[in-house]
Structure formats: structure tokens, C-alpha cells
């Protein structure tokens, strides 16, 4: 933090971070959390603090000063680069440039395929053949032979007529909703929906309705009303809710959508590699892939790369290819990644031991918390939800975890409602018992220290 921004920070003594009392530090972090809500920061906090509304950058100066103060505490975990290969143990460089080795519980690379020699081998030749960048959008000349081969494989494996690649998983979901729904339609979404679903629903201009998380009865109330309204209805749910720790009740949701004539889209982002006989997700888990109209997914989690896709009917895929803004106006992801993803899908399907080890780890870790007396429901996804509820201790708790060699991000408002703070502990196939036992001991100590147990 530079001297000239320090004076603009609202936390009083933050010019000298070392001098912060624990209470002042807690207050600073509480403020930081509130300011992550842009509506509050721009709409209320900036006017209260005399920010020049005529300069669009003035608010950024104030914000930068606060982030600088947070970094100065040494307990601000966001934005520290990983300087080693991804995996269960990583080396992280902190804000002072010190390197530390930690056990990773914040990566969505559940199966470790980002660092798997088999996926690396698959792309070596592709680099010489196709280069790095796609050079254009998918609808234009950014569409390579290996992109096409991956689309064919996705359609085949997910049991749909066709599939379409998007630059990211966020784009696949957001842009598909925005392209398919319009002002006369309704988009009905789960209350725990990821930002990409909310973004797409809002951009579509449709009437957006949400229903209580994973509650089919509440979904039906919305479907009844939607059926009486003009226009069509698109229901969007996630296969696995990694914050809530549960999976969509598709066995109830699918029949309801059929009953009321609504189309159903399932975002399998956190379910791919984790759920289903072959790792295809929650629709596969319930044997309902044929009944789901659109399956969306990302390659950035279990498949260890980046990019996203939707699989659906040929008509829908053709429509999206030309009318989804993210396909038309955004460059395709690098072709070499298409080859990596293609190999990763094979490994995910064939190497069942990978998913077996992941689930052994999930059960072992969740049981470890239960033995401490933590209230831990059945975990149905790849991340163990550790509910803390006390917003004010989260950042210092996470800082203590970091100091003890455990990397876990605090999940706080606005990602979860106020008072619902938690740690979302993402598991990996590659975690060993020693990694997990060490982390459990660290958590036991800190849950005691903060009076959570």
C-alpha cells in the first residue's frame, strides 16, 4: 500500500498495519466483506466517503486503498499466486514474496487431471500441429479440427444430438440462457444458483423467478404460475451445488418440468468427474440424461483445463452457434486444450479408481469432522461444507489455517448470505491420508480456539 492511498482508508490506523489491534483488524475485514457488494460500495459507501462521482476512477482509488490495508495485515488470502504445479500440495507466494507449501483445499481440479502426465502427453503433438491461440471465434475461423472432434465426443458421451464449445463454462451457461430466453419468457432458477445462471437470466430480459434451494414443491409453485403466463419457461438448475453440498433432485424436477411444459437445463459444472457412473454428472446419476433438454458443463474443474460446452438437440446447438454472443464475439479456447479435454474425458470415464479415491477422501474427511462433533450432513458433492456461521472470525480463521499449512478460502457474503459463512473444502483424488489427518488436526485446534466446537 502506498502512503498516498493509506490516508484514504476508512479504518483509521491502517497507515501502519503492524499496529492494528485484533479488534481493528476484524473491523477492517468486516468492512472489506461489505464492500465486495458493488451496489453497496458504489451506491452507499462511496457517496458517504465523499468520492468524486464525476470521475469513474475515483471509487477505484478508495477501493484500492482498502485492499492495500487488507493485504498489509498478512491475512488476506486472495490474489496470492501459486508457483508450483497444481495438486494436493502447492507452493504459494504470499503478498510479501515469501513462499510456503500448503495442502490445497480450494481447487476444483477434483481428479488432478490438470497435472496428470496422460493429459500432458495428449497435447504435446497438438502444439506443433495447431499452435496456441485459436485466432478467432468458433463461428468464424477459430474452429479447428480438434475442436470439432471434441464436440462430436461430447455429444456422443453425454447422449445428445450435438454439442457446442464455449470459451468458458460461465459463457456456456450464461450465454445459452441469454440466447434462448427473451422478454416474453420466464427463467426459473434455484436460489443457490451460480453467478453465471443469474447473469444469463438477467441478460435474457425474461421474467426471472427463483425457488427455495432444491425444493421441488416451491419449483412447482413457480411452474404453475409460469404456465399461466405468456411465453415459454426455461428452468435452470445446477447438477451439484458445491456450496450447499447437495445435488439437484432431478428425479422430482424432471417430471415437474414435463408436467408444466417447461424446458430444463442442467449445469453439471461441479458434478462432472464427481457424480454419475462414468462421471458425466447428476443427470447420468439419476439415469435422466435423455430427459434433460440441455446439459452444460465446464472443462475447468474435473477436466483440468478451461472452456465450457452445452450438449442438446442439433437445432438448439445450431441456434446457439449463431445467436450466442459469447460464441460469435469471443475467441474459441486454444485448440490444444480441446485435445487435453478429450483425453481427460477418456481418463475420467475409464480410470474409475480416480473417482473412487476422491469419494474415499470425501467420506474420510467429512467423518473426521463428525468425530470432532461438527454437524456435517451427508456430502453429495466434491467439496466438504464446513459451516462456521460467524462472519467476523472467518478471515482470521483462514489466516490461521494458512499459517498452519492449510489453504482454504473463507466463503463469506456476498457468495453466501450474512451469517452463513463457511469453508468450502474442495477434495482431490490426490489427497493422502496424511494430508487429510494433518488438516483435520489443524481444524480441530482452530475450531476450539474460536469457540465453534
Amino acid at each position: 500500500m502506498s502512503k498516498d492511498t493509506a490516508g484514504e482508508s476508512p479504518a483509521g490506523a491502517v497507515g501502519a498495519p503492524d499496529a492494528l489491534t485484533p479488534e481493528a483488524e476484524q473491523e477492517l475485514f468486516a468492512l472489506g466483506l461489505r464492500l465486495l457488494n458493488k451496489d453497496y460500495f458504489v451506491g452507499e459507501y462511496c457517496p458517504q466517503n465523499g468520492v468524486d462521482a464525476k470521475d469513474p476512477f475515483a471509487k477505484a482509488r478508495l477501493f484500492d486503498g482498502i485492499i492495500g490495508s487488507l493485504k498489509g495485515t498478512g491475512r488476506f488470502l486472495f490474489g496470492m499466486p501459486i508457483v508450483s504445479k497444481p495438486g494436493p500440495r502447492v507452493t504459494v507466494e504470499d503478498h510479501e514474496g515469501r513462499r510456503r507449501e500448503l495442502t490445497m483445499f480450494a481447487s476444483n481440479d477434483y481428479l488432478g487431471l490438470s497435472a496428470d502426465p496422460r493429459t500432458h502427453e495428449a497435447i504435446r503433438g497438438a502444439l506443433d500441429e495447431y499452435g496456441i491461440g485459436a485466432g478467432s471465434s468458433r463461428v468464424n475461423v477459430g474452429y479447428s479440427g480438434i475442436h470439432r472432434a471434441l464436440e462430436a465426443k461430447l455429444a456422443d458421451r453425454w447422449g445428445k444430438q450435438a454439442a457446442l464449445l464455449f470459451p468458458t463454462g460461465f459463457d456456456a451457461v450464461s450465454s445459452t440462457i441469454a440466447a434462448l430466453a427473451g422478454p416474453n419468457d420466464r427463467v426459473i432458477i434455484d436460489a443457490s444458483s451460480h453467478a453465471c445462471i443469474i447473469d444469463g437470466a438477467r441478460r435474457s430480459g425474461a421474467t426471472v423467478r427463483l425457488f427455495k434451494h432444491n425444493d421441488p414443491e416451491r419449483l412447482e409453485m413457480q411452474l404453475q404460475r409460469a404456465a399461466e403466463a405468456e411465453g415459454g419457461t426455461l428452468v435452470v438448475v445446477e447438477g451439484a451445488y458445491s456450496m450447499d453440498g447437495d445435488i439437484a433432485r432431478l428425479d422430482a424436477i424432471v417430471p415437474l418440468c414435463k408436467k408444466y411444459g417447461a424446458r430444463l437445463m442442467v449445469d453439471e459444472a461441479h458434478a462432472i468427474g464427481v457424480r454419475g457412473a462414468k462421471g458425466h454428472g447428476v443427470a447420468e446419476h439419476f439415469g435422466l440424461s435423455d430427459e434433460v433438454d440441455i446439459i452444460a458443463g465446464t472443462f475447468s474443474k474435473s477436466l483440468g483445463a478451461t472452456g465450457g460446452f452445452v450438449a442438446s438437440s442439433r437445432e438448439v446447438v445450431t441456434y446457439l452457434n449463431y445467436l450466442s454472443t459469447r460464441i460469435v464475439f469471443s475467441a474459441a479456447f486454444p485448440p490444444i486444450l480441446a485435445r487435453a479435454v478429450s483425453r481427460a474425458i477418456d481418463i475420467m470415464e475409464e480410470d474409475e479408481a480416480l473417482r473412487g479415491r476422491l469419494w474415499d477422501n470425501i467420506r474420510y474427511f467429512a467423518d473426521g469432522f463428525r468425530k470432532m462433533g461438527v454437524d456435517m450432513p451427508e456430502v453429495q458433492v466434491g467439496a466438504v461444507p464446513l459451516r462456521i456461521h460467524r462472519d467476523e472470525i472467518m478471515v482470521t480463521f483462514a489466516g490461521d489455517l494458512f499459517d498452519a499449512g492449510v489453504f482454504a478460502y473463507p466463503v463469506v457474503y456476498p457468495t453466501v448470505p450474512l451469517g452463513k459463512s463457511m469453508f468450502r473444502l474442495a477434495m482431490q483424488s490426490g489427497h493422502t491420508r496424511a494430508h487429510l489427518d494433518h488438516a483435520l488436526e489443524v481444524f480441530r485446534g482452530l475450531l476450539g480456539k474460536y469457540g465453534v466446537l
Partner: protein
Amino acid sequence: MANVDVVALFKRVASEVERKDFSNITRDTRVTDLGVDSVTMMEIVGMMEDELGIQIPDTKLSGLQTVGDIERVVLERL
């Protein structure tokens, strides 16, 4: 439309959503005393919008303290 009894509508929709008796609600009832979370409140308001054929921007919903505040926001859109 100006004669709509918004409080009565609120009671009926809230009861339907939460399956609880809200007959004691008045204009002065504080939203925080209803025992419904913010998601449920959005479901209730959405259903009221459907019944009345109106749309209330999300920005109008923050900071509402009482059922009377909700009534005021709804009446503004009628």
C-alpha cells in the same frame, strides 16, 4: 387496481409459499419478524407481481422494513 388490498394479498401468498398462518400480519409487522428468509421474500414478491401484473425492480426491494413498506412499493407500480 388502486383499491387492491396489498396486505391481504401478501398474507395469502405468504401462507401459500410457507404453509404457515400469517393472518396476524399488519402493515406494521416487521419483515424480520415474519420468520422468512430473503429468498422466500423474493418468491412471495414475485408471486404478488404475477397476481397484479406488475414488475418491481430488485433495487426497490432492499431496505424494506415492514409489510407496509412492501405495500407502498407495490402501490407505486399499480
